[in-house]
Amino acid sequence: METPLTKNIIKGKTIDLKIYEKSGGYQGLRKAMSKNPEDITSIVKESGLKGRGGAGFNTGQKWSFVPMGKDAPKEKYLIANADEMEPGTFKDRLLLEGDPHQLIEGMIIASYAIQASNAFIFMRWTYQNSADQIRKAIAEAHEAGYLGRNILNTGFDLDIHLHVSAGRYICGEETALLNALEGKRAIPRSKPPFPQVSGLFGKPTIVNNVETLCNLPHIIDKGKEWYKSLSITDEGGTKLYGVSGRVKKPGCWELPLGTTMREIIEEHAGGMLDGYKFRGALPGGASTDFLIEEHMDTVMDYSSAMKAGSRLGTGTLVILDDKTCPVGFVHNLEKFFAHESCGWCTPCRDGLPWVEKVLNAIENGEGVEKDMKILEFHTSYLSPGHTYCALAPGAMEPLQSALKYFREDFMKHINEKRCPWRNNYA
């Protein structure tokens, strides 16, 4: 089994330029620069690489909307979204801290493909070690001639700048990220215009997730057919999957895209801790629908996760066990979303705190039957199309599936006027 993204990564260490080059690093860039930018976009499009940040849009297709040629704006931007803040998600950190040059090489290739001469890494504040490693790697890449003027004597110029954010979940939404980089309040922008045409400072801009960009050197170096053959299903490539919660060996692993949920939880995470039973999992971070026991054999790729009623999201599973209260679990999630709502559009600003308060009341034994109707109302009131961005619809995914799969537990709270789990603790 090949693991191109993590093959160099050794726990607790960071790969420097020398080791990266020895293991074949910057070969993909050399090959890329011998081709036309448009050809790079085609290869990436045909490789089937989909955005690894959660939305799962075809990366090459995203790039293809950027104006190219003589009439295109001179200034364009490429941005690496390293604002990993989806609760339960810790995959990009592994790539940033373990092998920063892989990201930089991917960014140079992407910048070359869209002909951007300035690129940014938008990093979350709490990833201090990642920021340090990236700063070092940028300096090394400059020194070696991979960044700066006339890269590898091709006439192509590129600088990469690191921006460390001041912390807000919404900054991960690509148009809010653009506002944050411009020094503004990070509220999402209306689309159209799409960032590919009018993004940072009004110029064509591509925002790609860290893991997505890290795939590029390998796709260009070894080809799209090789890349497609890495996965078990027809969606291509590997995926960083993670598991957190009460399992024996929580962690993050690079596996073929399409590995089943059962294999990820039982083999790689070592199964549930003794004395705990599996009740459900958020397959890809806080804003994905629960999957339960009956979905264990679901193939974890974009289309199959969707067929099972959820989304692959970030690919990092959060496990709900039988000794954890599902209402408390969902309350924690909704408290997060209510806090992180940017406040720009009314349904999200007003709806999420309402949901949070209702869940809090139910959890504290003060819920009434009508509360279930209020929660259900919000799952449609805050569904896609009613809000400016995907934050509130994402927040409704774990709630709507919890209402479906754990309804009895909600009702037990209301009928018994207490949380059955909490009282067991006491």
């Binding site: 609760p87 339960g88 998600t89 810790f90 709490t126």
Partner: protein, 154 residues
């Protein structure tokens, strides 16, 4: 009053962008780095340098979780409140910190040593519960471990 050094650092950030106000977040972070928080006076000065209305900069400053608009202690504890940490025992850790330090979220100890704040997902979910003290990350937290960690920060 901003120091000459702070002004110099802010000017260096400004030069990186096509518009001065794009350096607003970096500038607030520079001030906070030196002064521990961003006072109204400091904010007004930064706004003048960046040539943006004070209210607009305030709008930015108040939006971000990690820009402090109130004084904080010598060390800031950020306790991860996210789902994996909650499942793995966040409430016990929070209760222990509250009792040990005698403060709730948003408060500072009387000796000005610690401020306790919640933070959203530190991205260390496989080693939950986790927290940051200043720029340092700590994980697999237990109440015993917390005693040792806090010792390091005087």
């Amino acid at each position: 009053m901003l120091s000459k050094e702070e002004i110099k650092l802010i000017e260096k950030e400004m030069a990186k962008f096509p518009v001065k106000s794009a350096a607003s977040i970096e500038s607030l972070k520079i001030v906070q780095d030196k002064q521990r928080w961003v006072s109204d006076k400091a904010l007004a000065e930064v706004a003048r340098i960046l040539e943006m209305p004070v209210t607009e900069l305030e709008n930015v400053a108040s939006f971000y979780n990690l820009i402090y608009r109130k004084p904080v202690g010598r060390h800031v504890i950020h306790l991860c409140e996210s789902i994996s940490c909650w499942v793995m025992g966040l409430e016990d850790i929070l209760g222990y910190l509250n009792k040990k330090l005698g403060i709730s979220y948003g408060e500072t100890t009387e000796d000005d040593r610690f401020t306790l704040l919640p933070i959203q997902c530190l991205g260390d979910c496989d080693k939950a519960p986790a927290m940051m003290v200043d720029n340092d990350l700590y994980n697999n937290l237990t109440t015993e471990k917390i005693d040792d960690i806090l010792q390091k920060y005087q």
